[in-house]
């Protein structure tokens, strides 16, 4: 779409990285309003070659109309085995996936972001990193989408091993709680998307939201809190506060943070039948 054309965003000369001030965006997006970005019809329509060109060679040229190409069958990648395993929901300026990229160099990961300018920034940032660090940052990408509506279009059942929700928008008002990215109903979808044993990471500097997210997860039958030891041993934990732009801002102001980490479980009870 035309609004995404890179016009005046000349990268910074010394670092090659795109400059954030050209991508300044509205503070909030209303996740309830219908936007007009392409959505893959099914997870097998996600254009992996476009997102991870080094992993997925193709013979077709990259479509310029968006992140996914869902009307050409040429872009179907039924045979490809490697799939996205980490998703950063509401990735903002992408600090987390950039840090995770080198920590898990063989894992494909994606940031999902609803604001187009911000998404565009992350896209440029990744391209610049790939350019200046040949062979690196090939495993990360970003897509503009409303994660609250379209997660099942991107990932199959049990596909993800980690999902991140770092400093999500708080939506303070009671009547806006249904806009929160962590809610009892949306957790059903995240449980569907996560493999058994997969982990959901949440962090916020808003105490009330931290309690809400923790309560939602505690009450959900398909999630259990992870132990203190596991928490301490997880190399990802320290990135939650340090890797993202929002996290750094909070740290600069010495703000308190509230973390909740939960594991996707498959309850052994056969109450609901023999499925799973």
């Amino acid at each position: 779409m035309s609004e995404n054309k890179k016009v005046m965003n000349k990268p910074n000369k010394s670092t090659g990285l795109p400059r954030k001030r050209f991508y300044r965006a509205r503070a909030h997006s209303n996740p309830l309003s219908d936007s007009h970005f392409p959505v893959p019809l099914t997870p097998s329509h996600v254009d992996y070659a476009l997102h991870y060109p080094q992993y997925f060679q193709t013979d077709h040229t990259i479509a310029d109309n968006g992140d996914v190409n869902n009307n050409s069958t040429a872009s179907l990648h039924k045979t490809q085995s490697k799939k996205i395993q980490f998703a950063d929901i509401g990735c903002g300026f992408g600090g987390l996936i950039v840090s995770l990229s080198t920590l898990f160099p063989e894992t494909l990961m994606i940031g999902m972001e609803i604001r187009d300018k911000v998404t565009e920034y992350v896209k440029e940032r990744i391209l610049a990193l790939r350019e200046t660090n040949p062979g690196q940052y090939q495993n990360i990408s970003v897509v503009r989408t409303n994660s609250m509506k379209y997660i099942p279009n991107f990932f199959e059942k049990g596909q993800l091993s980690k999902m991140f929700f770092l400093f999500p928008d708080p939506h303070f008002k009671e009547k806006n709680h249904r806009r929160r990215v962590i809610s009892p109903h949306l957790l059903d979808e995240y449980a569907y998307t996560l493999e058994s044993g997969g982990i959901i990471y949440t962090i916020t500097d808003v105490e009330e939201l931290g309690e809400w997210m923790k309560a939602c997860l505690e009450d959900h039958p398909l999630f259990e809190a992870i132990s203190e030891e596991e928490f301490a041993a997880d190399p990802v934990v320290k990135l939650l506060t340090s890797a993202t732009e929002e996290g750094q801002k909070v740290a600069r102001n010495n703000g308190e943070t509230f973390t909740a980490m939960f594991r996707r479980i498959s309850p052994s009870d056969t109450e609901s039948g023999d499925v799973l």
């Binding site: 309003s33 007009h36 392409p38 109309n65 869902n70 009307n71 009892p184 449980a191 959900h220 109450e271």
Partner: protein, 480 residues
């Protein structure tokens, strides 16, 4: 926001029809009225509400018989969910919903009624009258802020399937104790496409307005007609199950605004077959290459074994010249399909034209599939002397008896051949519409047609308006 636009006060409500599984009675809902005819006793039934509350007070949006016909449910814009016994017809329970109700279903064991509200939340309530949480329903899962168009239980009761206006079909495990929520998603059936049209609307008279469809695409628009309205037609409109002894878990059928009927394996979410009904029924054929025709599937019903599937098809939008618009208006009707469950394929067996003025708004078939019951009609119709209108029609001869059954053709029965005859019609159609002259009937049918089409259309911001909104956003100001 979208939902406020789609369900406005006093909005037209299409007439609905439901048939008892062994044709003991047939029900038509029109506006706030439930009309029941007892086919066994050959007389109209009157409804008694034991719950001490009034009957429905606003448009009914969903009705359904339970699998064995002992229970019936009705719900809609008045936020009341009514559970009825059918022998005799008594309302045993009225449940209050927080929001308007868009879909409902009874679990195959008759223990639970599930309904969906206009915020996309699905609720469940026990049918046992002595249940402690008497008039309250529990939320069990939700689609994210999309109106749910259809709810169905799988025939074995293990799953509940919900379809929404964002072309998502979700299959959820229905737990033994559902009041504490249904959190386990078995699958998503994805594949119905989003059809987006750029449309120009030209008003010629109150009844006729031509709608011109320029392009269908996903996510990419033609901006040539930027000053005109934008509409999208896309959602899954209806669900039904088929199963046989070999496949007791059943397969799901869905129909949609994208003109297709699809067959799904709900355990995996796999799409097994797609029947391009519009195309294959010859309804898309046209000499004029510029025309893009896109009939919507508005209802679907199936004999339990899948040998007979009926879909209501409604031509909605088009086209490049007004002359062909007139010509094509006559193509509303019913298309019969059959499902080969071992081959997992769908195929069209017959197109039954109902004539130009009969647009089926709802279909029903008993388990014997002897008759296909069809209603056309709506309430709150503008510019008519009586604001609601319903016509009932019946097709018989659907089933093939024996192999060389060339004379077993589906036929639209004359009014006096319909089971229950004129007594039934008088009850279900309301005596008013019977006594009307042909001209009045045609006008009413026309109003229904327009109303139905508008229901399928989701109004969106025009390109201009959207651009304007964008420009006033802070993140755009940089561009200037």
């Amino acid at each position: 926001m979208e939902e406020s636009m789609m369900m406005e006060e006093g909005e037209v409500a299409p007439a609905l029809i439901a048939i008892h599984p062994v044709e003991k009675s047939v029900v038509v809902a029109i506006g706030s009225e439930l009309r029941v005819f007892d086919l066994q006793e050959d007389c109209a039934s009157s409804l008694v509400d034991d719950s001490g509350r009034p009957l429905h007070m606003d448009s009914i949006r969903a009705i359904s018989f339970g699998a064995d016909g002992r229970l019936f449910v009705s719900a809609g814009d008045d936020k009341l969910v009514k559970i009825w016994t059918t022998n005799p017809w008594h309302c045993i329970r009225t449940v209050l919903s927080e929001k308007r109700v868009s879909a409902l279903a009874i679990s195959p064991d008759n223990l639970f009624v599930s309904f969906a509200d206009k915020f996309g939340v699905v609720w469940v309530v026990s049918t046992e009258v002595d249940d402690e949480r008497k008039d309250e329903a529990s939320p069990i899962f939700a689609h994210y802020c999309s109106i749910i168009t259809s709810l169905e239980f799988s025939p074995d009761g293990r799953f509940i399937v919900s379809a929404d206006r964002d072309f998502k079909i979700r299959v959820t495990v229905f737990p033994k104790r559902p009041l504490s929520g249904a959190h386990e998603i078995q699958s998503f059936c994805l594949g119905h496409t989003e059809w987006v049209f750029v449309i120009i609307t030209i008003f010629i008279s109150t009844f006729w307005h031509f709608v011109i469809c320029i392009e269908k695409v996903t996510g990419r628009f033609s901006f040539e007609f930027a000053s005109h309205s934008f509409f999208a037609v896309r959602f899954v409109t209806c669900l039904s199950f088929v199963c046989t002894q070999e496949y007791p878990q059943g397969f799901l059928l869905s129909g949609s605004g994208d003109s297709t009927v699809r067959l799904w394996d709900i355990t995996s979410g796999f799409l097994l077959d797609t029947c391009e009904v519009g195309m294959e029924a010859g309804l898309l054929e046209s000499d004029d290459k510029e025309e893009t025709l896109c009939p919507a599937i508005t209802d679907i019903c199936a004999s339990p074994d899948g040998s007979l599937i009926a879909v209501a098809i409604q031509r909605q939008l088009f086209m490049t010249n007004p002359i062909s618009f007139f010509a094509l208006c006559s193509l509303h009707g019913v298309v019969l399909l059959s499902c080969n469950l071992s081959g997992r394929t769908l195929s069209i067996t017959k197109v039954v034209s109902m004539g130009g003025t009969f647009i089926p708004t709802s279909l029903a078939m008993s388990s014997s599939a002897e008759h296909l019951w069809i209603v056309t009609g709506a309430s709150n119709l503008p510019a008519l002397d009586s604001p609601s209108f319903a016509r009932v029609s019946v097709i018989s001869g659907l089933k093939k008896h024996g192999s060389d059954s060339s004379d077993d053709k589906p036929v639209v029965l004359d009014d006096n051949e319909i089971p229950g005859g004129s007594k039934l019609l008088e009850k279900l159609q309301g005596s008013v519409s019977i006594s009307k002259g042909e001209e009045a009937l045609a006008a009413a049918a026309e109003a229904v047609k327009i109303a139905m089409r508008n229901l399928l259309i989701k109004r969106q911001y025009s390109v201009e308006k959207r651009e304007l909104r964008k420009k006033s956003r802070n993140d755009r100001k940089l561009k200037q």
